[in-house]
């Protein structure tokens, strides 16, 4: 269990993490979601005692991290930066980690096997691909067979097979009763693995809910309408007090009015419809909407989803 209480980190004037309070519970996978620069990594570093909080408190199983006598058997972490000396072999990297916590040396072989790096155990880390580096980081996290696991962007650089593997791994770790805390900037990834969701933007807590609740509350439902008589339909909708916005491929999207009502309205006005379908916005959209609001709040811009924001998303994804 990880407990954060009013956790705050300021770098000069900039607030990286702003008064975060939440609890990460055992037995489930908790997703930690936010755009790049939201403060996820800073939060994780504070949990691990690497960065000192400006204010607030964070405890791991009721204890401050730096008071843990055997940290690696309590909590295993994969941090964003690989944290491996490029000239050291995978085996030696895990060996010094094991020695530092009095973990039996046979665990080195076991975790190498578990992440599928046995064949390259004696190879230097600098020859590793991004995915192999990620696997080595995961091996290091599993080394102490800890109660709590923390992964910062674990799917980065993994191929589809690797992504599938890490998803299964995280779920099975949680099923064994461990606390699993995973950060990501990809909602779609979290939707597949996380049971609980903590969303932050600009360092502030935006949501702390179960995955199911988040989906229900945040996904926008609308009706997609396709018609050859666009103007006539818009007139009819306007007269009925319903607003429609332009969708993709010349379709119209209507919010807050059931499909039945739109169909009847069209029929009364003699408008031909080629499509009338209720839609559920994707989770990715819901997430972007949520975080865009936090951006909007700080930047005082009008548009809910400025194109610049979209671009940042693409960039962050590619960089990741």
């Amino acid at each position: 269990m990880i407990e954060l209480e009013g956790l705050t980190k300021r770098y000069g004037e900039k607030v990286a993490v702003d008064n975060l309070t939440f609890t990460v519970r055992p037995g489930i996978v908790t997703g930690f979601l936010g755009p790049n620069g939201a403060g996820k990594s800073t939060t994780m570093r504070m949990i691990l005692g690497l960065d000192h909080p400006t204010a607030g408190d964070v405890r791991v199983d009721g204890t401050h991290y730096d008071r843990l006598k055997d940290p690696l058997t309590n909590i295993g972490a994969l941090l964003e930066a690989k944290g491996v000396h490029p000239g050291r072999s995978a085996q030696n990297h895990l060996l010094w980690l094991a020695q530092s916590n009095g973990i039996p040396e046979r665990r080195v072989r076991e975790v190498l096997d578990e992440v599928g790096l046995t064949a390259v155990a004696r190879k230097k880390a600098k020859g590793f691909s991004l995915g192999m580096g990620q696997r080595l980081g995961i091996a290091a996290a599993l080394l102490g067979d800890p109660r709590i696991l923390m992964f910062d962007e674990p799917v980065n650089g993994l191929d589809p097979e690797g992504i599938h593997w890490i998803r299964t791994l995280m779920k099975s770790l949680a099923e064994q009763g461990r606390t699993v805390f995973v950060s990501s900037h990809l909602m779609s990834e979290m939707a597949l693995t996380a049971d609980h969701l903590v969303v932050i933007g600009q360092g502030r807590l935006l949501a702390d809910t179960s995955m199911a609740e988040f989906i229900e509350r945040n996904s926008r439902s609308y009706v997609r309408v396709r018609t050859p008589q666009r103007e006539a339909l818009l007139d009819a909708l306007h007269r009925a007090g319903v607003t429609a916005v332009d969708g993709a491929d010349g379709t119209l999207e209507v919010d807050g009015t059931p499909a039945e009502a739109i169909g009847e309205l069209a029929a009364r006005n003699g408008v031909v419809l080629h499509e009338l379908s209720p839609q559920q916005a994707s989770l990715e959209e819901a997430f972007m909407q949520l975080t865009a609001e936090s951006v909007e709040y700080h930047a005082h811009t009008g548009a809910p989803l400025p194109p610049q924001q979209q671009q940042q998303w693409g960039e962050s994804w590619r960089k990741g």
Partner: protein, 295 residues
């Protein structure tokens, strides 16, 4: 797949530490208990881990290899050249010839010392290190101890080999038979001094957190006082010039061979105490900063 253990909620719940003042509610969640024995870590673990680190990278082999090559190579060369010249050494100790090799070899110790701490900041590995051992003082102490011992042993072996070589090469040319204390100072003394100089570099590496920067600072600290003193022509600066000469690291090293470049200033074992004090102060500073700063 090695660790799929069935969760054992009962025993796990019993093992939960009751945090004083914290623990708002009794943990009713199932939790995982590892079959791995729990170990309370101590300095010994940190030492074992730092030893694995230092021996498992190429830079250690390179810097120490160059150190051995420089000290033994230059020692052998000077010994042979002087022996070939058929000189009369006038009863001087042959040990002092080892000075040149060790002076150059000190650069290797500076480099390795800096790399032991600063390179972890370059690779981001310092985070892994501090996560594995949250007691930052323990990490620094383990690094300093392991490095000091490695540096001392390697330097001692080199200095002793070169000393024996010179004595056997030059005894027929009226060289003095070194006394016990001369042997002690010319091997153990100078090796302790150089290992401390390396440890000082390690502390500076931890403070600066940048390999190239810290190495530059340390090499400047070795060379600058002597070079600056050479260019102090003004007579009003005579005292400063004298002090720079006397307390420069090369001159302090030469005192271990009792052939100081100057007559006043530090003598006997003074250089060792000076270096010990400076290194201790630098380590204290590094420790304070390590505790205060974010990793």
């Amino acid at each position: 797949m090695s660790t799929p253990q069935p969760p054992m909620p009962q025993s796990a719940a019993a093992e939960w530490p009751a945090a004083p003042g914290a623990a708002p509610s009794a943990p009713a969640y199932p939790t995982y208990t590892s079959p791995i024995p729990v170990v309370r870590t101590h300095l010994g673990h940190a030492l074992a881990s730092e030893w694995t680190k230092i021996r498992s990278v190429r830079s250690t082999m390179w810097t120490l290899g160059v150190l051995v090559a420089l000290v033994v190579g230059i020692g052998l060369l000077t010994g042979l050249v002087i022996a070939n010249a058929d000189p009369d050494l006038g009863g001087e100790s042959p040990l002092s010839l080892g000075f040149f090799g060790l002076l150059l070899g000190s650069m290797c110790l500076i480099t390795l010392g800096v790399l032991t701490t600063a390179s972890e900041y370059g690779t981001g590995m310092i985070r892994t290190t501090m996560v594995a051992c949250p007691s930052r003082g323990r990490v620094l102490a383990a690094k300093a101890l392991v490095f000091f011992l490695v540096a001392f042993v390697v330097t001692l072996v080199c200095a002793s080999v070169v000393g024996l070589l010179h004595v056997s090469l030059l005894e027929e040319y009226n060289a003095a038979e070194p006394t016990g204390e001369e042997w002690l100072k010319g091997t153990v003394g100078v090796s302790l001094y150089l290992a401390l100089l390396g440890t000082l570099s390690l502390a500076v590496g931890s403070i600066v957190r940048h390999s190239a920067g810290a190495i530059t600072i340390m090499i400047a600290a070795v060379l600058a006082p002597l070079v600056i003193a050479l260019f102090m022509f003004s007579s009003s600066l005579r005292d400063v010039q004298q002090a720079l000469f006397e307390y420069s690291i090369p001159n302090q090293m030469s005192i271990f061979y009792a052939n100081s470049l100057s007559e006043s200033g530090p003598s006997d074992w003074d250089p060792l105490w000076i270096m010990l004090a400076v290194t201790a102060a630098a380590l204290a500073g590094a420790f304070a900063l390590l505790k205060k700063r974010d990793v």
